[in-house]
């Protein structure tokens, strides 16, 4: 079994790859052919020749400042820099002439004259390009020391910082010495080691698109500066994505973990377990100690980029809160008792079997997790279908992207985004609706911002002025700040403009869709009541702006829709998804690069958990459980009879629990108490059950109501696959042994076997083989293929042996694209005199979902509590100041939190995040939900905000109850 793979060619090629016609040239006597536009430096690398370099790296465009990569070219005067010189047919290049070698040595000598010589004690020792280059050019002496420098705090001409400390004179010191900036929790900036190559500044601009860094001053004084004078990294605009640290050739920008633990000596390529972008990372280790996570440049979702979560926030796996031993208790008012695995499993199996005997097989169920692997999810749904003998399986995707599944399934025929992330490089117009990519999907946001800086246009439909609307070097062409809950009206109005102004693509519709159906659709949307002028009062969106946005989307070239939970988490979530699909179809923006309808998935494996049959009505591959031919496939494979009746959804399970017919739940890697709406109702449902088995890393909020706690393994401790938002199946590789003893799939298998299932998987690869054998869209997926290709996008089968980057290229999966009439129906949740404001919820960059992971990392530096954003007008009416405690009350409940006053939100709208259990924002949200899928309406709640002195009664009661239910008795010897 291959747990580890040798990474692909990870050499730094010096400058980015180009796509042009082949050009032949000769470098050091070796003939090489590269695409036109390629630099001489990269061409040399292709030929296996390394030209010394410092300011060049292949993640950013060539800059030509370090003068180390000079070469001689026959027929040209001087010594041009190879990084900025493009290749030319017939060029003859010499990279090692005595002339360039002499220049390089002289240049290196100058660099080193203002650089400490403490290599042996430097954090980058062995991982420093300056060190490598000094060796490569043969630097043997530095004639300039001592002199002015930035590294010697003593001012005595010491050549290393340790030597300087020894010689440190009383009172006097080097006025030019610059101390380290340690303000960022994850990396340090040591200006004394900076060679001013600008790689960090360029990475911040070109790769991340934040522009937080600059070079301040000039000449000898010039240094990297985060923000303006007086700012440090933490105070600046820096979002801690790590691109600068990745680009830095020296120890100037250095991970604190490397300084502490030493340079890593082994690497395993794996997949990030945070958002749905699914970035590929190299886990770099010493033995089984993780030293750092670095973005893998061959990762097809992230292309070598990362965000603060994946790059740095992995420390939760070692947090003291993590539970490593199984625990049980007879009732939830008792303290936990640590027991052996066998005792815990016997206890759990015994209870579940007793419930089944007493209350029938339908009284049990499971909840799968969008954070666990495909293989684990597959086993959990198999547990309920093949062992509990019912279809009571649901997943947290219920509360996020279930409307995507329904909406895209109805219109296009498959429940998935249509594009890969690379497609964004061809986008001319991006329509971002109900998504906040810079916070929720930062690596995708960076790729989109890069495209916007190249000239693509952006339309943002969001109640808040999110960062995509306007931030450095980007600005949306149109921002439609709609009233929460009016998505359908706005998108239908866009369709109205496209239809009535004749902006649709008739040829595409005639070929790919049903023309008659389209006629009916046109008749519907052309009605005056859908005109932007008619809906403006309702939606709050300026009609002219909406018309302009519609024209841009329809006629601006390749137009792509990117959407998030602001679309789905509504009572009309599915309708909005279908309305967006209508827009794409009527303008022909489907089936090629740069277009499409793209859900941005919240969690790492939302796509995968849906694919794996987590829903109560669907077996793996989105096939309805009522179909006998589908059931037969699994009945043959599993040797059981599958219930043809769909099972219970999460809200139905909770209702049934309150009614007394649902009694036992196995909940893997999911905190329904914190993440699901109407917390009180969830709590009542859980409290009514007789056996709640929570399988998680931490005693989460749901575990307060659990009888069995099975400790989980982190993504670093298991094998499997995650499927990201672009249907890309990425390998998750075990880099260390599970601290809890078992990978999560093993735990599920042990529970199943304790109930007599007799499963015998020895590696997740076998589970994937079973998935491939039973699920047509995964037919060709094997771990060998994933190791070979890095990743594949489903469908991956006989028809698409290497996967499918773009969907619906020549025809829709369902045949003809289907236009569906999207009538706006206002949500029953309305603001009124008692609750005059509309609350909408979202995420922030540094925290993730319910915060179970990120709250247990240094990311809390950026966001230690949930804040309520409120418009200055509404704040003034209520006498609120920035930082005041406020009470947030709805028809469901109330909570308190701290207000932040901002015009990012419109008057009448307030906004908060749901990362912190103390706040329990979902105490306030209601149990209204999507008409088709029950996806809860998190994004609209009528609320009132008023001044408050501190936590509400509910918060205090809850905190006390949580404290009580987390007591753990010491293990019996």
């Amino acid at each position: 079994m291959k747990d580890f793979i040798i990474p692909w060619d990870d050499r730094d090629m010096g400058t980015p790859a180009k796509a042009g016609k082949p050009v032949h040239l000769t470098i050091d006597g070796i003939e090489v052919t590269v695409p036109a536009g390629t630099s001489v430096m990269r061409a040399a690398m292709e030929a296996g020749i390394k030209v010394p370099k410092l300011c060049a790296t292949d993640s950013v465009e060539a800059f030509g400042s370090c003068r180390l990569c000079v070469v001689e070219i026959e027929g040209r005067r001087g010594t041009p820099a190879s990084c900025t010189t493009p290749v030319h047919a017939g060029m003859v290049v010499h990279t090692q002439s005595s002339k360039v070698k002499k220049i390089r040595r002289g240049v290196m000598e100058l660099y080193v004259s203002d650089h400490p010589l403490d290599c042996l004690t430097c954090a980058a020792n062995g991982d420093c390009e300056l060190q490598d280059m000094a060796g490569m050019v043969g630097l043997r002496d530095v004639r300039y020391t001592p002199g002015d420098n930035h590294f010697d705090p003593s001012g005595t001409g010491a050549r290393s910082q340790s030597e300087a400390r020894l010689r440190m004179p009383e009172g006097e010191a080097n006025p030019l010495y610059m101390p380290k900036d340690q303000s960022n929790p994850y990396f340090t900036y040591d200006p004394s080691k900076c060679i001013v190559c600008s790689r960090c500044v360029r990475a911040c601009e070109e790769v991340q698109g934040t522009f937080a860094l600059t070079i301040e001053g000039r000449g000898f004084d010039s240094r990297v500066s985060a923000g303006a004078a007086g700012d440090d990294f933490l105070a600046s605009d820096c979002v801690s994505c790590g691109a600068c640290v990745q680009a830095c050739p020296t120890a100037t920008l250095q991970e604190k973990s490397v300084a502490e633990l030493g340079t890593p000596d082994r690497e395993v390529v794996t997949t990030c377990a945070y958002c749905g972008v699914g970035c590929s990372f190299k886990a770099e280790l010493n033995g089984d100690q993780l030293v750092r996570m670095t973005p893998w440049k061959h990762g097809k979702a992230n292309r070598g980029h990362s965000c603060v979560k994946g790059r740095f926030a992995y420390g939760y796996a070692e947090h003291p809160d993590r539970i490593l031993n199984p625990m049980i208790r007879d009732s939830i008012d008792m303290p936990w008792r640590e027991v052996s695995w066998s005792e815990a499993l016997a206890f759990a199996a015994g209870r579940m079997q007793a419930i089944r005997e007493k209350h029938g097989r339908k009284s049990l169920g499971v909840i799968t997790s969008s954070r666990c692997t495909n293989e684990e999810t597959y086993l959990v749904q198999k547990l309920t279908r093949a062992v509990f003998m019912n279809n009571n399986t649901d997943t947290c995707a219920r509360v996020c992207h279930s409307p995507t599944g329904y909406g895209l399934g109805q219109t296009f025929g498959t429940s998935a985004g249509t594009q890969d992330f690379d497609s964004v490089e061809q986008v001319d117009v991006a329509l971002v609706i109900g998504a906040n990519p810079t916070d929720g999907h930062p690596v995708f946001a960076s790729r989109l911002k890069k495209r916007l800086r190249q000239g693509a246009k952006l339309i943002v439909i969001d109640p808040r002025r999110i960062d995509m609307v306007k931030s450095a070097h980007i600005e949306a062409a149109h921002h439609l700040p709609l009233t929460p809950g009016t998505n359908v009206a706005v998108v239908t109005a866009l369709a109205h403009v496209i239809a009535t102004e004749g902006l649709y693509d008739e040829a595409f519709i005639r070929e790919r869709c049903d023309w008659d159906e389209f006629q009916a659709f046109v008749e519907f949307v052309s009605d005056k009541r859908h005109a932007p002028e008619s809906t403006a009062l309702l939606t709050g969106v300026n009609a002219q702006e909406l018309r302009a946005a519609a024209r841009l989307y329809a006629k601006g070239g390749n137009a792509a829709i990117y959407y998030g939970l602001g679309v789905t988490e509504h009572s009309q979530g599915s309708t909005t998804v279908m309305a967006l699909a209508n827009l794409a179809m009527m303008t022909g923006n489907i089936g090629r690069e740069g277009v499409g309808v793209n859900p941005l998935r919240g969690q790492n494996n939302v796509q995968g958990s849906c694919d794996m049959g987590s829903f109560p009505h669907e077996l793996p591959g989105y096939r309805h459980v009522k179909l006998p031919e589908v059931r037969k496939v699994f009945e043959d494979a599993w040797g059981v009879t599958i219930d043809p009746e769909p099972g219970l959804r999460i809200p139905n399970m909770l209702d049934a629990a309150v009614e007394g017919t649902f009694k036992g739940l196995y909940c893997q890697g999911e905190d329904i108490l914190q993440s699901d709406p109407d917390t009180r109702h969830v709590a009542a449902g859980l409290a009514a059950m007789e056996c709640v088995i929570v399988h998680d890393l931490f005693l989460n909020e749901t575990a307060n109501y659990a009888h069995v706690f099975l400790p989980g393994s982190s993504f670093l401790e298991k094998n499997g696959t995650f499927t990201n938002a672009e249907r890309r199946i990425n390998r998750v590789r075990k880099v260390m042994a599970p601290k809890n003893g078992y990978e999560d799939w093993e735990v599920t298998q042990m529970l199943a076997n304790a109930m007599g299932a007799g499963w015998a998987y020895t590696h997740p690869e076998q589970i994937m083989a079973e998935i491939a054998a039973t699920t047509p869209s995964f037919a060709n997926v094997t771990y060998d293929l994933l190791d070979e290709k890095g990743s594949v996008q489903w469908p991956c089968n006989g028809e698409h042996p290497e996967g499918t980057p773009l969907m619906h290229v020549d025809g829709f999966v369902r045949g003809k694209g289907r236009f569906i009439v999207t009538e706006y129906v206002a949500t029953a949740e309305r603001s009124g005199p008692r609750f005059p404001l509309l609350l909408t919820t979202g995420r922030i960059l540094s925290q993730y979902n319910v915060g179970a992971q990120t709250r247990r990392t240094a990311n809390s530096v950026w966001h230690e509590q949930d804040m309520l954003e409120i418009h200055p007008h509404d704040a003034e009416n209520r006498g609120l100041k920035n930082g005041d405690w406020v009470k947030l009350a709805s028809r469901s409940g109330e909570t308190t939190l701290v207000a932040t006053i901002t015009d990012r939100v419109s008057p009448g709208v307030v906004y908060t995040t749901f990362h912190h259990p103390d706040t329990q924002a979902n105490v306030v949200t209601t149990d209204y939900s999507d008409w088709a899928t029950n996806c809860p309406e998190y994004k609209v709640t009528a609320v009132q905000v008023s001044p408050s002195n501190g936590p509400s009664d509910w918060q205090e009661d809850y905190a006390a109850q949580a404290e009580r239910s987390r007591r753990i008795l010491p293990a019996a010897e």
């Binding site: 001053g217 500066s225 004078a229 306007k470 450095a472 070097h473 980007i474």
Partner: protein, 155 residues
């Protein structure tokens, strides 16, 4: 015109006055420097906001040019050339004498706020070195007496 405390509206008006230009950042910095004898710190964020840049970028550009000041200079600015030709013709002795007499260091301003002395690297008067500049007036074959006279003349 010199204001001790420019208001946000005044700064914004100066910024907006340059917005019709292509690449207005340097003209904006010049306009502010001209108006207030320095670029007020409060202006950086406003420039960044108006041009859709970050404060870091504005800071990078401004700090590259020493003549964009963070605080107003003295009433008169004396620049003494320290480039090779002037050094060989006695510029160091000249600057030592001037700085000692005024009791300040390079870049310093006298306590009465009258004079700021700065280094400059080549005024293009190498043939008549050492060279200096008092406010906008170039002085060739500079010595302490000529500088003093020029300062008196400027007052």
């Amino acid at each position: 015109m010199r204001h001790s405390k420019p208001t946000a509206d005044e700064i914004q008006a100066l910024i907006d006055g340059q917005m019709h230009l292509e690449g207005p950042l340097l003209p904006i910095l010049h306009a502010l420097q001209e108006a207030y004898d320095h670029v007020p710190e409060a202006a950086l964020g406003m420039i960044a906001e108006t041009l859709n840049l970050t404060k870091a970028e504005v800071h990078g550009v401004m700090s590259f040019y020493h003549d964009f000041r963070k605080a107003p200079a003295g009433r008169h600015v004396v620049k003494i050339c320290r480039a090779e030709a002037c050094q060989s013709m006695g510029a160091n002795a000249l600057s030592d004498a001037v700085l000692e007499k005024l009791g300040i260091g390079w870049g310093g301003t006298t306590s009465d706020g009258l004079v700021t002395v700065e280094a400059v690297y080549c005024l293009g008067l190498c043939a008549c070195a050492p060279a200096a500049m008092v406010d906008d007036r170039l002085i060739a074959r500079a010595d302490a007496a000529r500088l003093e006279k020029a300062l008196e003349g400027a007052a």
